[in-house]
């Protein structure tokens, strides 16, 4: 019953530039520090050294993301000259030395120079203890900075609700540029000016909030230092928790349970749902709920919307709308295609709307006293929560959004021994969910969850094989077809905004003959979200994804429409999918935005923006 069509037009993937794919079969042998090593002919010296178990420090290099050869920290001696090992190709018989006085002196001077133009505010820096520059300085045994002089002094950019920029901490590795343009295809960040005055920033030194930045946070994930960080909202949460008059409700997104453990030294993909719930209770939240609950709800609404569009000749393909990074992207880049989006709010916002209507009604609380906090893998959700459209409860539906990293900091600050916590259980009713809700956390998950429900709703048969493996995995764009009572439903899944752009261009050209498309802004979906633990890379994404599917398997119920709490919700409150109440609380509309700048007359602002080196 599931027809699998192999990808007609394979898209280049996020982060899987392996040697096999470069098409190399040939091998070469070289000598590194006297040790012979045989590697594929298209390897770099750095890769060869890794294969030989020799560590070379790096800074600008980030596998799968960026190889500019610009920081010069990874230099090694080849033929008496220094070469950047991260970009230098191996050749047969090459002699490499990675630990000579010349090499050590050069690396050290380079890092000292970097530090001579760096604030060195480690103690108060968000990246303290997780900073590549700090680590490097330690590894290279730098004990003094011999050079001093002018320092860059650019204004901080705190305009965005999601991301804060401090160009003075930037070491110009350009990873963020690479991610933002090559992987995400949003092209917000770029290098401007030159020489010592070079700065990485949006065009015209514009503030992030005034650009088409999607808040996806992928740049934050790759920044080696504290130049790009999430906006820290922990203080707001502490304040709400300390206020005896408020009832603080928390929701946790699907992808958080398989990544939070990393902040406490656990392997990526370790499922820590129970400990997380306990930690939240210990922090003092009054009700601990699960975004998975509204993920299930999203599926019901969205599957019905799709079936309705199919029946009534509505706009197709219909595209998912649960990723706020993606939403902002389409609003800026393809505003003419907004009616392709499902009108469903994201699970976070459905939750917020219900937490201030349905929940207080049921629990006998004053909705005005409720503070809703969400724990998200995502920086874009911070922006989403502040959208004016997201106040259908009569209040701001979601008050505070914390990323996984912020949440972990709160746990640490509270002195909670996370690793040794006992498992806790979510509160009812909004903590009850199914495996379908969990898989929202990975690319293809929404699609898979929707298909599980749509199939059963349409065919009225029970699905014997629940795993739609065609839509799983890290391939950039995935396709599948499902036979629903004779109608072949064609679907596609894209993750990473660069892939989303490609898919949108196909739609523009009339070449995307799909009925339903899932798009997630972040590579890998929310398990690769901009609010996840750092580092986040391809290997780690894979591990987290495995965790997600394991969590799905563990659930007694794995189809959204089987969630008993959702059934109750419809019976008691919403009445029916796509009904009046649903429309009021669970659906929304989108706003076309400008491609370049929110500012109509940018010329006027010109003067104020120049950063100066003093």
């Amino acid at each position: 019953m599931v027809l699998v069509k192999k990808n007609a037009h394979l898209m280049p993937l996020v982060g899987t530039r392996t040697n096999e794919q470069k098409g190399a079969k040939e091998m070469v042998t070289l000598t590194i520090d006297g040790q012979k090593v045989t590697v594929p002919a298209n390897s770099t010296v750095l890769e060869a050294a890794e294969a030989a178990g020799i560590h070379i420090p790096t800074l600008c290099y980030l596998k799968d993301v960026s190889q500019t050869g610009s920081c010069r920290v990874c230099v090694v001696e080849i033929g008496g000259r220094l070469q950047a090992s991260c970009v230098f190709p191996v050749s047969e018989g090459m002699e490499v030395k990675t630990n000579t006085p010349l090499v050590r002196e050069s690396r050290r001077t380079t890092v000292e120079l970097m530090l001579s133009n760096h604030p060195q505010d480690c103690l108060t820096c968000l990246r303290n203890q997780n900073c590549e520059l700090q680590k490097l300085s330690h590894e290279l045994n730098i004990r003094e900075v011999r050079f001093e002089g002018a320092r860059s002094s650019f204004p901080l950019d705190t305009s965005s609700p999601a991301i804060a920029r401090d160009p003075n901490k930037c070491i110009l590795c350009r990873r963020c540029i690479s991610v933002c343009s090559e992987i995400q295809g949003v092209n917000i960040l770029a290098a401007r000016e030159r020489g010592f005055e070079t700065v990485v920033s949006p065009a015209w030194q514009e503030q992030l909030a005034n650009t088409a930045c999607t808040n996806c946070g992928q740049c934050v994930l790759v920044c080696p230092v504290g130049a790009l960080v999430e906006k820290d909202d922990t203080e707001k949460v502490w304040k709400a928790l300390a206020d005896p008059d408020t009832h603080v409700v928390v929701q946790t997104a699907p992808a958080v349970r398989v990544t939070l453990g990393e902040e406490f030294g656990l392997e990526p993909g370790t499922i820590v749902t129970g400990k997380m719930v306990t930690a939240l209770r210990r922090l003092g939240f009054d009700a601990v709920f699960d975004t998975d609950f509204t993920a299930d709800l999203t599926i019901i609404e969205e599957a019905n919307e799709l079936l309705q569009r199919l029946e009534n000749g509505g706009k197709l393909p219909m595209i998912t709308s649960c990723s706020p990074g993606w939403i902002k992207f389409i609003e800026h880049q393809f505003p003419a295609y907004l009616d392709h989006l499902s009108t469903c709010k994201s699970p976070q916002q459905m939750f917020g709307a219900l937490a201030k209507t349905y929940y207080p009604e049921k629990a006998g609380l004053d909705p005005g006293k409720i503070v809703t906090v969400s724990i998200m893998p995502c920086t874009a959700k911070k922006f989403e929560a502040e959208r004016p459209e997201m106040q259908s409860s009569g209040y701001q539906d979601v008050d505070i959004v914390l990323t996984v990293r912020e949440f972990a900091r709160m746990i640490k600050e509270a002195g909670i021994d996370f690793i040794n916590l006992a498992d806790g259980e979510y509160d009812a009713p909004m903590g009850i969910s199914t495996g379908a809700g969990v898989i929202f956390g990975a690319t293809g998950g929404v699609m898979e969850a929707a298909l599980r429900t749509a199939y059963e709703v349409v065919t009225e048969e029970s699905l014997d094989k629940l795993d739609f493996t065609e839509v799983r995995g890290l391939e950039g764009i995935k396709e599948a077809s499902v036979n629903l009572n004779g109608t072949v439903l064609k679907v596609a899944v894209a993750h990473g905004l660069g892939n989303a752009r490609k898919l949108m261009e196909l739609i523009q050209q009339g070449k995307a003959e799909y009925h339903f498309i899932e798009i997630m802004a972040c590579p890998g979906g929310c398990i690769g979200g901009g609010g996840q633990p750092i580092p986040t890379n391809t290997d780690i994404r894979r591990q987290r994804m495995a965790g997600i599917y394991a969590a799905d398997k563990d659930m007694p119920l794995r189809k959204s429409h089987e969630n008993p709490a959702i059934k109750v919700l419809y019976d008691e409150f919403l009445r029916e999918p796509l009904g009046e109440k649903s429309h009021e609380l669970l659906h929304t509309h989108y706003v076309p935005r400008l491609k370049y700048s929110e500012v109509e007359h940018p010329e006027a602002k010109e003067e104020t923006k120049r950063g100066t080196a003093s």
Partner: protein, 597 residues
């Protein structure tokens, strides 16, 4: 062609245009009409003749009389005296700086006599805007020969055999580059000419572009044939508008003659050339940055390998050479590699064009065989140092190079010898400095340049050059500290070894070289707070020599801050606390009683 009894070559190179040669030429034409000689005397506008500081200049053939520093009135006088009456206008002749003798004929001037012109063979001789003049001097014969008689491999072999080395900087064997590009896999290939000429004080390439653009076009077509490219680009700096204009004109002419475009000379070979104008970035002279710039991006260098021959413009195999390098190609093809091998030194064959400037009598362009001594270039061709000052140093290789001192006057200049003494050939800029030049300040000047032009991509260059400049500035301002020299050295070595591209790798050279030859000057600045050359204002002290002062009081009148006092007819004094070191008094004193230390 009509028969003219006299040809007048009027230089219309950029230097002479700046000194208003156009007005001189107009007056000349006008006067010729007036006296009815327009049919007998032909005026030819040429590219730079080489003696730019003597401009506007003209050479009258067949006698070869060289007139200099002309005004429109001078031109009229030449018509009336020389052309009508056959009397040479002696007042407008060149006076040899050392002997003070007037020289009538260009070929008797040391400046021209000692030159050997290959790359500049047509520059200053033909009208660059008239393709026929180029063709009349064997132009496009080499292309014809190549297309009709030679295989691609034969052309490459000939260039390899000639041992021609790149004139743009590093001196890499040109033939090898052609071969690499030829052998690189790929259907689409490009030929690029580096006409960015960023080295300040160098204008060889400019003169060729302006004075003989067709030689470049012809050579690029030959290169295109040899390596298998259909498209060429010339990357010219925007500061050379005249070069862009002349080159565009030449390209049009070549196209209309079928020397560019489809099926050149009726063969299968098709080739065309586009111009790309730079936008003010020295680093774009670096080959990978240049390629990136052609692609329309920030001119940031990229790591090599891959080299342009394998992955160049738009990722395709690309042959990239300098203007002067190309200017040597046609003569080599026509006269053969063996002829070329007969000129120059063992490892550096052929000639090199130098742009001599700075504290020297004859500034301008000269082309000499490799191996000519520095002394010949500076003192014989260049006519020595003006105002009877002493030669102190010459900078070759521009901001990437180093300085040569009196002890190097007898070295035979070629790639190897310059490298050996810590400088480099570079593109051929040769800046002469006299005894009043402060070498610490010169190093500071070069670092200011490289810091300003650093692309900012890699750490050592981006931050390192800034730090070096800061230290050097401090030293020249009298705030140098013990340990500064060591810091400079540490930085210099780290930047050289660690930088991504040639700009950073060579930026510290002027510092290392001046530290090597003039370390005492650095020490004097730092320890004694003294500038031995009397240049660094912050370290100067203006003093009145009581022996010489006659108490005339003129200095007190010009001093803007009233720092000078004294009674009439008695020696005056300068209050050093008040003195702002403007130098006005020194200039004013009729008795040279005021000096700076």
């Amino acid at each position: 062609m009509a028969e003219y009894r006299t040809h007048v070559l009027v230089c219309a190179g950029a230097g002479c245009v700046s000194s208003n040669c156009k007005a001189v030429e107009a007056a000349l034409q006008d006067e010729l009409e007036q006296v009815g000689l327009a049919e007998e005397v032909k005026v030819v506008e040429t590219g730079c003749i080489g003696t730019c500081d003597l401009g506007p200049v003209m050479v009258v053939y067949p006698e070869g009389v060289f007139y200099q520093k002309l005004t429109p009135d001078d031109a009229r006088e030449i018509v009336n005296e020389h052309f009508l009456k056959g009397r040479i206008v002696r007042r407008l002749l060149y006076k040899a700086p050392q002997s003070e003798e007037l020289v009538e004929r260009a070929e008797d001037m040391d400046f021209f006599r000692r030159q050997y012109r290959i790359a500049l063979r047509n520059t200053g001789v033909i009208n660059p805007e008239v393709i026929e003049e180029y063709i009349a001097r064997d132009g496009y014969a080499a292309l014809g020969k190549v297309l009709s008689e030679m295989s691609q491999e034969q052309v490459i072999d000939e260039i390899k055999k000639s041992c021609l080395r790149g004139r743009g900087g590093a001196g890499f064997p040109t033939g090898l580059k052609w071969e690499f590009t030829y052998k690189a896999p790929g259907e689409e290939k490009y030929v690029v000419c580096n006409a960015d000429e960023g080295d300040p004080g160098a204008f060889m390439d400019r003169s060729i572009l302006e004075g003989d653009p067709h030689t470049l076009i012809e050579a690029m077509a030959i290169a295109g044939y040899a390596v298998g490219a259909r498209q060429g680009f010339v990357y010219v700096r925007a500061e050379y508008p005249l070069a862009v204009e002349r080159l565009s004109m030449a390209l049009e002419q070549a196209r209309s003659y079928g020397l560019l475009g489809e099926n050149i000379f009726g063969t299968d070979f098709s080739f065309d050339i586009g111009i790309r104008v730079g936008a003010g970035a020295f680093v774009c002279g670096e080959e990978t940055a240049l390629l990136t710039s052609i692609e329309g991006k920030r001119g940031e260098p990229r790591p090599r390998p891959p080299f342009p021959a394998v992955k160049g413009v738009f990722g395709k195999p690309t042959l990239l050479s300098n203007v002067e390098t190309y200017a040597n190609i046609c003569p080599i093809i026509l006269h053969g590699a063996d002829w070329f091998l007969g000129i120059g030194t063992e490892k550096s064959k052929g000639t090199k064009v130098f742009a001599i400037a700075g504290d020297i009598n004859n500034t301008g362009l000269v082309e000499v065989p490799m191996g000519t001594t520095l002394r010949e270039i500076v003192f014989e061709i260049g006519g020595g140092i003006p105002h009877g000052k002493r030669f102190k140093a010459a900078q070759t290789g521009g901001p990437s190079g180093g300085c040569l001192t009196t002890e190097h006057l007898d070295i035979h200049v070629d790639y190897e010898s310059l490298k050996q003494v810590g400088s480099m050939m570079g593109s051929g800029g040769l800046i002469v400095m006299d005894e009043d030049t402060c070498m610490v300040d010169i190093a500071r000047f070069f670092l200011d340049f490289t810091r300003d032009e650093s692309c900012g991509k890699c750490t050592p260059c981006r931050i390192g050059t800034t730090r070096m400049l800061e230290i050097l500035t401090r030293i020249t301002e009298g705030k140098g500290e013990e340990g500064d020299i060591e810091k400079l050295e540490a930085l210099a070595h780290a930047i050289k070894a660690g930088s991504l591209c040639g700009l950073g790798q060579s930026a510290p050279n002027p510092v290392l070289s001046t530290l090597h030859y003039f370390r005492d000057e650095y020490e004097a600045h730092i320890r004694e707070k003294r500038c031995p050359a009397g240049h660094c204002i912050a370290l100067l002290k203006f003093v009145v020599d009581p022996e010489l002062c006659r108490g005339c009081g003129l200095c007190t009148k010009v001093c803007p801050v009233g720092a000078i006092s004294g009674k009439r007819r008695e020696p005056h004094q300068i209050d050093t606390d008040l003195c702002t070191k403007c130098g006005a008094c020194q200039e004013k004193c009729p008795f040279d009683a005021i000096s700076r230390h």
